[in-house]
Amino acid sequence: MSARWRELFGLIPVSLLVTAGFTSVLLTRSSSADLENPVTLTYGAFFLGCCLFGHLFIRARLPDADPYLFPLAALLAAFGLVVQYRIAEDFAREQATWFVIGLALFCATILFLRDLRVLERYRYTIAAAGIVLLLLPRVPGIGAQANGAYLAIKLGPIQFQPAEFAKLAVVVFLASYLGDTRDVLVQGRFPRLSLRRFGPLIVIWGAAMVLLVFIRDLGSSLMFFGGFLALLYVATARLSFVAAGGAMFFGGALFFARTVTHVQERFTIWLDPFDRKVVEDEGYQIAQSLFAQADGGLFGQGFGRALFELPTGQIILPAAHTDLVYALIVNELGLFGATGLLVAYLLFVARGMKAAMLAGEGFSKLLAAGLTAVFAIQVFVIVGGVTRVIPLTGVTLPFVSYGGSSILANFVLLALLLIVSDHARRDRLATPGGLV
């Protein structure tokens, strides 16, 4: 069976999930107004239409691309849509709108980026754009602060999280830079301490630290630096680089954890969210997140049955549609449902890594590996934060969290992975031995 047919069949579970999810939410609400108003159900049909369009577009433009990446992304997005619908109809409507725009951006990326070498040519421009994007939230007038971190900019009614796009820019730059210079980096058996070798490493470490201080967000900083280390390792195979980089990052993070109040606060809450002094205040979010998960248990409370607020109006699960969406999922679907979601992410990562392995040496391999790594780290940072593996920070859960920037950026990420995969697999198919 050809790749595209497998992709189409892969969309069947997605359609089942959407149908089952929306029906279940509707039944739980079971208010007659909803039942008489079939408009709500059209989101599901509309979403499936988008998926079918995406599939046809890939069939036309990237016929040899990996058959599982798109259905997996659609699965995650469908899941996100149902969860958003379950929280509030408005969220689902807006989320669905963002999917359409995301899909358009996805198609545009595939149409205009037929040759990935274009990205290599403009790598410094892309890097500069990435840095500007990251620092935008600190620009007075458009920057917006939330929970002490500078993550978003506001232009009129539209809120935008530049870090989501900056992550793509940074990976493109690093993949291209390391693809060129990796030979230099690994020269000789013992890495000598020279500025030429370690200069870039130090610059990027510095950038991550600046990020930590300027946008005050440990999560994004960890995401960028983790992506950098992953790429460095893939490019050079030197664990010593990774170890040194990791040590520098944790040293820096510890230093700022002691000196910058905001970061320090996040650490104390992480260590003991139930402390009487913080549990109703700064620690409220993480403490409630854990309570919500405990409430879920093995199988969850069932879809649409989680509690958000007390009768007194007090919010009992803050940011349920963004930061704490994973806690909500655990609450409603339990350990099993949440593990299922994580497995879906892991499969996506596996396909991304597969694309990287099939790709030719150099830029495209590093690009695919880097994008996939950043995607995986992002999932780890937010889910790890919600489950208290690491301090809680405000990055989004790809394709599931509410938020336009996240969806758009992840559709571009998906497009880039599919482009790499299409080229790689076509080359493989052309060579004797074929595709394994």
């Binding site: 992953a230 309570f291 919500a292 009992i316 889910v383």
Partner: protein
């Protein structure tokens, strides 16, 4: 480079496994403690949607009920306590804003119907609204009311136990609070200097004074090394633990029997007895009586306090610590006990040496009247032999007949007991005690009474209160 990509994927797998591990931890392994966390309002809120079962006294009097308000999906239930201050500590409270206490907490699963999950699952399938079971307690409103009246506003506590079963008939702690006022006045009550929210019966740590001599006598008789007729020198100023010990009023008794020594509460005799038994053996008997651990009672852990010798920073001292056992034996040293513990001591003697676990609950009954569960009674330990217990009963009867406890005597019903008076505030006031049981031959009720900061003694203050409580409880049984 493909090898590195594989390694990278391996790392991602490990990281994701970590996420699953942590999620399992919160959802399964530590879920219970998270649910019990006081900052977690979820369980309380969910339970607001379900009418809690009634809590009743043993005669059927309703002690706690749920009032519903609102309709359909918005229907919420709130707790109401028709008896007001009468059962405050025993019953406790359950409110969304402030959590739970007392039986409301310890029997929460039954009261919310969460105890039988299969049934609630079936209810859910059939679309029936879940509801909690009713709890019938062992509490006796008549005895409870008599106890509060007898205390007459003095701070203190009274516990009455049915010796054969361990069922708690009376549990009084004064000052009390009105559970209905908890939502509005919690802060105020919590800050009150008289600590009305504190359950003196199970949490109050008081010096037991001479009531401890009952434990000492039990150890002496059961060890086989003493009989009620054994003669010990009752001179005052005997050296106990290297320091001279005085009798009450510095009185010299000369050589006297243990029966006389209990009747007259002779300190030096019981100090010597304990020293001869030795610290290890004495501690063994204390533990058989239930000292040094939280009582095995159907009541919240955080409202139960062990009795024992308390060292610095609230640490319970064991037999390896430097403890003057001769003074522990007469209720001095750093010995601190709860009224519940001393009632258990009296009940154990009454029940021929068999110590029963204290129980507040008696039966769990479904809303439709079906019996769901009979609360199991259980023997905690056989503390002493029947013979030793019967000898001790006779000795304690002497105390009420002609010793320090005469004011506890009932007309026509022989009572056994022991008084206690411990000096507190550097001798400025007394902690008065009486523990005992009645009727002597077939004990149906054991009681412990303690009064804080009184100028009187156990025999003059606590014994008359015990008399009134026993009277109310025993007459109730006949009626």
């Amino acid at each position: 480079m493909n090898r590195q990509v594989k390694h990278l994927f391996g790392l991602v797998v490990v990281l994701f496994a970590l996420l699953v591990a942590f999620t399992s931890n919160w959802t399964v392994f530590t879920a219970q403690s998270l649910e019990d966390n006081s900052a977690n309002r979820r369980p309380l809120l969910e339970q607001q949607l379900v009418p809690r079962g009634l809590i009743r006294a043993r005669d059927g009097t309703v002690l706690a009920e749920s009032d519903g308000s609102g309709r359909g999906e918005r229907r919420r239930y709130k707790r109401r306590y028709p008896q007001g201050t009468l059962f405050s500590h025993a019953v406790g409270y359950s409110f969304l804003e402030l959590g739970r206490a007392g039986i409301e907490q310890s029997r929460n699963d039954e009261l919310t119907g969460a105890a039988d999950s299969v049934e609630s699952f079936i209810d859910e399938l059939l679309g029936r609204t879940a509801e909690g079971d009713d709890l019938l307690t062992a509490l006796d409103p008549k005895g409870q009311r008599a106890a509060i009246q007898a205390l007459g506003g003095q701070r203190g506590s009274i516990v009455a136990i049915e010796p054969e079963t361990g069922r708690i008939r009376v549990m009084v702690s004064v000052p009390a609070f009105d559970p209905n006022e908890i939502p509005d006045r919690f802060r105020e009550l919590n800050a009150d200097e008289d600590s009305p929210l504190f359950n003196r019966a199970t949490q109050g740590r008081y010096p037991p004074g001479s009531t401890m001599k009952v434990v000492t006598a039990a150890a002496a008789l059961d060890s086989g090394r003493f009989t009620p007729g054994s003669v010990v020198d009752g001179a005052s100023n005997k050296r106990i633990g290297g320091v001279p010990l005085q009798n009450f009023g510095n009185q010299d008794y000369g050589p006297i029997s243990l029966t006389e020594a209990l009747t007259n509460s002779v300190n030096t005799v019981w100090g010597q007895v304990a020293q001869r038994l030795g610290k290890e053996e004495y501690y063994d008997y204390m533990e058989r009586f239930g000292f040094n651990v939280e009582p095995p009672m159907d009541y919240p852990q955080n409202q139960l306090t062990p009795s024992g010798v308390y060292g610095p920073r609230g640490r319970l001292l064991d037999e390896d610590d430097p403890v003057d056992i001769g003074r522990v034996a007469i209720g001095q040293e750093r010995l601190q006990v709860t009224p519940l513990q001393m009632a258990t001591v009296a009940a154990t003697v009454a029940n021929e040496g068999s110590r029963m676990e204290p129980r507040l609950g008696e039966r769990v009954v479904a809303r439709d009247g079906r019996l769901e569960e009979r609360v199991r009674t259980a023997e905690a330990a056989q503390v002493m032999s029947r013979d030793a217990a019967n000898q001790l009963k006779a000795m304690m009867a002497q105390v009420v007949k002609e010793g320090s406890g005469t004011q506890a005597a009932l007309e026509g019903v022989p009572v056994a007991g022991k008084t206690g008076t411990a000096e507190v505030d550097g001798g400025a006031s007394n902690q008065a005690w009486f523990i005992g049981f009645a009727p002597l031959d077939d004990p149906r009720m054991a009681v412990a009474v303690t009064v804080e900061r009184t100028s009187g003694q156990g025999g003059t203050v606590a014994a008359p209160i015990a008399k009134k409580v026993l009277q109310a409880l025993l007459s109730g049984r006949r009626g």
